[in-house]
Amino acid sequence: MDGIHDLGGKEGYGPVPVSEGDAPFTHDWEQRMWGLAREGICPSITIDWFRHGLELMVPGDYLTFSYFQKWATNYLMLMVDAGQITLKDLERGYVLEPADPAKAKTVDQIVEQVRRACTDFSVPEDAPAHFAVGDTVRTLRQINHNHTRLPAYARDCVGEVIAHHGCHLFPDEGAHNRHVGQHLYTVSFSAQELWGDDANPRDTVTLELWESYLVPA
């Protein structure tokens, strides 16, 4: 979707908050949000449905909310969407039918849980790869209306395939709970192709792009 989340190359955002934004967390609630998200309080989501949920936020909120504020809002939406809680629960602030409490975990258990969460996103498919390292490719100009990972700044541009990763989970389908793979490539674009002749001719931007985002150039 052509959403507000697609920030690459947009202008007018001012300086990067280098020193005032150095810490990963500045409020206690941010750390708690991180813990809640990592523990998987909404087990039916997929990684791409989570991302798509962020993209579907009210655009003004997306731009003005901080990162973890967006996450909190998204998780409330995701849990209502999944039927875990209701909008009435949210407005009331508590649930009418509490469940048995979850067992507490220790720090050691969490550290081990993180290690085991090393997820392989390869989804092998029989389809042959249409491109190979060294090929010149052009990205599509049009994208679908839902979740996709082809940013606006890199559409209808010509680049070179510099790596082929086999088939990976295709996010456009994964956002809708369909677990299908598609060939994934790293494509390098010259900065001048993306931004014009004023860019440094030595500079490049690379993106991971799925096969259906690409056509032969």
Partner: protein
């Protein structure tokens, strides 16, 4: 079960926008209490996550990996060939590093990492990302004017050094391997790891300071 219905999700977001206070502390408090009441998590488990990421999982992990690569050419070769496998030697694999790629800075090339579409980051090896990495300014500008962004971080990159910006659009995550600074010959791995900054492993720092060590 999630609906996976985009229009429904957008509708729910509009409802939440109109009916709930936007104060993030209140929203997270509501989320935690509802999740606890539903038996999805214990509050002590949230505490444990906070401690895990403040004490055990952070950029010191990436720094150890970089220092090892500086002193051990065979490890460096393994790291550059398959970083996901290489960091298993440290037990550092995990969240968001299932497809980790290490990219090496050279005299001719500087590497810099961004995620323009969300804020993807190799959590299990670098911990939680700094706030600036998640800012709209960094996400918008890193791909378009990396040299101006680097200058804001105090990195004055010569014109002839090429910049390669890696936009993390899939599940690959990147670890920049900064150059070992001159004057550190003979240092042990611990001393070397201590000078590797988090920003240098994201690519917004380049010349590491050897300090008084």
């Amino acid at each position: 079960m999630s609906t996976f219905d985009s229009k429904h999700a957008a509708h729910l977001h509009r409802h939440i926008h109109s009916h709930l206070p936007s104060d993030p502390a209140l929203r997270v408090k509501a989320l935690e209490s509802l999740a606890v009441e539903k038996g999805l998590i214990a509050s002590e488990t949230v505490d444990a996550w906070v401690e895990a990421y403040s004490e055990h999982i952070g950029p010191m992990r990436g720094a150890k990996v970089v220092a090892r690569a500086w002193v051990d050419p065979e490890f460096k070769a393994r790291l550059l060939a398959d970083a996901t496998e290489a960091i298993k030697e440290f037990g550092f694999e995990g969240n968001a590093t299932g497809h980790l790629k290490a990219v090496e800075n050279t005299d001719a090339q500087h590497n810099m990492v961004v995620c323009t579409l969300c804020s993807c980051y190799p959590f299990s090896i670098l911990g939680m990302s700094p706030a600036w990495y998640k800012s709209a300014a960094y996400r918008a500008r890193a791909v378009r004017e990396p040299r101006a962004v680097l200058a804001e971080f105090g990195v004055d990159l010569p014109e002839e050094v090429a910049v390669r910006v890696w936009d993390s659009t899939a599940e690959l995550r990147y670890l920049v391997v900064p150059q070992r600074p001159a004057g550190t010959e003979g240092w042990d791995k611990e001393s070397l790891a201590a000078i590797v900054t988090r920003n240098s492993m994201i690519g917004t720092d380049r010349i590491l300071q050897t300090g008084a060590a």
